[in-house]
Symmetry: C2
Subunit: 422 residues, 2 copies
């Protein structure tokens, strides 16, 4: 018997038929003797509808009133799931953000969870009542509705799991787990049984959008074991530790030695949402690079990879870096405005790039990961435009057209290919 | 300078363009120096959508969770109106039912307002901030969301007007006031400048659905002056007591002597939502009628007009009465089940009936109202099937096909026709 927090996303809650299906999955766990809390998203599309209302009402909408409007989506689904569970004969009730309460701090529309009083919730769960909590919402210090920002429901689920000291937090989604790479591109991709928080953070931050990065960070800090699994799987009650229905995200201490050693590399992610900017003929003198990145930082534009080449002329250099695609126009504008101060010749944007990252905790104690990568890519004529590394990750920037080829080549090179796949 | 509560219905809130229009109407009042609170309904159709979700989830839905779901509609519009007002440069914020709070008692989905703490709201209004309150919702004694039942937003508005001691409660709707009779049927119908609470109650209860009956009763009890007016009228700030944009509903003490004496009859209402049931050959003995109406009362079916005729045979009688159309099938079933106990011969339903009511406080001190009615209808061959009277109302049941004719004939007979109309 365990205490479980289950979380269902917008696709799983889209319409009464799917909510009824979710109710069945939840009831299976309750019937198996577990204490259950459920965190729900709004119906798919509903949050967009509500956000658009706010934007139509005013482009400069008050975030406090935006929160009042958009938080209603999760309120609706939590009430409906309670009704659907009751109709299956289960005891269930909804707990709105202000009722528990889920106390948040900082700005409206992107609040951060400060504390959750888990006492009433724990008591309800112990009494056999299924607690249903709208994700994404909380209560501000002055008693108003807050929301956590898009995708915040994963974070709500992890925070509630921590507050009620749950044995694990099951995040139900439209994929059945975390894969060695994107299975839509690489048919030999394998579902992972376990990954560490650190690996998941790196995979999430480079485009494997199974979980919101924030929620993984919180789970790591609070020691909440997360399982990612599909709400479209038929039976989720009977499984063994070696044959999980999804992927368990755990601390490194929970990884078996054989898990750690088996693979140097856990997964390979790709991200097409970056753009490259090159500044040519920047004066090659102390402080020059600061004049480029200071105005970008002031504009809250996140810069990722940075490369500095030697320019064609003496005393000059080319500087290349990447920014998120959505920030490209703004970054170009900021740099044009600072042109006098920086003193570059040309500003060249390039959206035709992709970032490929190989991730694995095994990397810490092994050399040669980068060498394998460069060799495998070079053999297929894939040019590397930039490189960054972290303790458990090596990322390269390549031309976007080679993304799929690079993923397949590297998946094979690191020995990740499934044996039984076609 | 006055303190005003303004209420806007679902049609006025249907979509951002209309909400923006409402914001302009509200801002006019604030700009004129008034202290303003606004009560809003959900967007037209939105409550139906949410109610249907609950019904789909379970025909026996939990009313507490139903309240969580349907209360979200007004939450959305209150946030959006706040945003729209702010974009016009006004200070505004939303106050949800649990934030004020609006304390309610009794059952979920049909709660009754118990008390409203108007202090914070009054302070906000005095500071020049427009307070926006979602109608229809409140907070139960155990801290859960409640709703007041369909049409409850009018009641919310009147209760808030009482709590903040408002000078009046303006109910904006899709008609520009209360008319002497339905202007879609009788072209010579006139808009009334003032009616009393009592008259409005009688008119509302017999089908002039401008205001929810409950809200008028509450306004009478709390002494809240209500004005009914159209949200489609252009300018609502400049008016005189003799030339109101809408219809003011006030206590009898506020009626001028000339208002009272001018017209015996204030208005004529019709109601096609009743059905007639006749039981033939019921034993004519003490207690027989009780055996008919006791099971109907147990089934919470409201019986209105009752007529008892002498039957064809001695010791037998025919009993006729009316019930709401929606309850007809259930009433027939209840009576069939009690047939053995009641001992009637046949059970005859008839939905082809309409109730016509003439209403007026002047009636109290005048005779002949009923006589004028019967004579005018008889002259046009309209047969009267049943009659009921109250202190300020006379109602008759007629064949439904004669409804429009009866309204026109009576409107003329009581001297209500507008002089300038075609």
């Amino acid at each position: 018997m365990a205490r479980i927090v289950m979380k269902f996303g917008g696709t799983s809650m889209a319409g009464i038929d799917r909510i009824r299906r979710v109710a069945q999955i939840v009831k299976q766990q309750a019937d198996a003797g577990h204490e259950v809390a459920v965190v729900v998203s709004a119906m798919a599309g509903d949050t967009d509808r509500l956000v658009n209302f706010c934007r139509e009402a005013s482009s400069l909408y008050d975030p406090a009133e935006y929160d009042v409007v958009v938080a209603s989506g999760e309120q609706v689904t939590s009430g409906l799931l309670a009704i659907a569970l009751q109709s299956l004969g289960a005891k269930a009730r909804s707990w709105l953000g202000w009722q528990m309460p889920i106390r948040t701090v900082e700005a409206h529309s992107k609040a951060r969870i400060d504390s959750i009083d888990g006492e009433a919730l724990t008591a309800a769960m112990q009494s056999g009542e299924i607690a249903i909590i709208p994700g994404f919402q909380g209560l501000s210090e002055d008693g108003r509705v807050t929301t956590l920002g898009r995708g915040g429901s994963d974070t709500s689920a992890v925070a509630i799991a921590a507050a009620v000291k749950a044995d694990r937090c099951d995040i139900y989604t439209d994929v059945d787990g975390v894969y060695t790479t994107d299975p839509r591109i690489v048919t030999r991709a394998r579902k992972l049984n376990k990954v560490t928080f650190e690996e998941m953070l790196e995979l999430a931050s480079v485009g494997a959008k199974v979980l919101q990065t924030r929620s993984v960070g919180l789970a790591m800090k609070e020691g909440v074991r997360i399982q990612v699994l599909s709400s479209f799987t038929d039976e989720n009650t009977n499984w063994t530790a070696d044959d999980l229905p999804g992927t368990m995200i755990v601390g490194e201490d929970e990884m078996e030695i054989e898990d750690m050693e088996r693979q140097l590399i856990t997964g390979i992610a790709h991200d097409k949402n970056e753009a490259k900017i090159t500044l040519t003929r920047v004066p090659d003198k102390p402080g020059a690079v600061a004049t480029i990145f200071a105005p970008l930082a002031d504009a809250a534009i996140n810069v990722d990879m940075i490369i500095q080449n030697v320019g064609r002329e003496k005393g000059e250099t080319d500087v290349t870096f990447t920014v998120p695609n959505v920030d490209l126009d703004r970054a170009m504008q900021v740099l044009e405005e600072a042109k006098g101060k920086i003193g570059f010749n040309r500003l060249i944007p390039d959206t035709n790039v992709a970032k490929i990252s190989v991730v694995g905790v095994g990397m810490k104690s092994h050399a040669g990961v980068a060498a394998t990568m460069f060799k495998a890519l070079a053999e297929r004529g894939v040019n590397i435009q930039a490189i960054t590394t972290s303790e458990i990750k090596v990322s390269v920037l390549i031309e976007e057209d080679y993304t799929e080829l690079a993923l397949r080549v590297l998946h094979t090179a690191y020995g990740l290919d499934a044996e039984d796949a076609a």
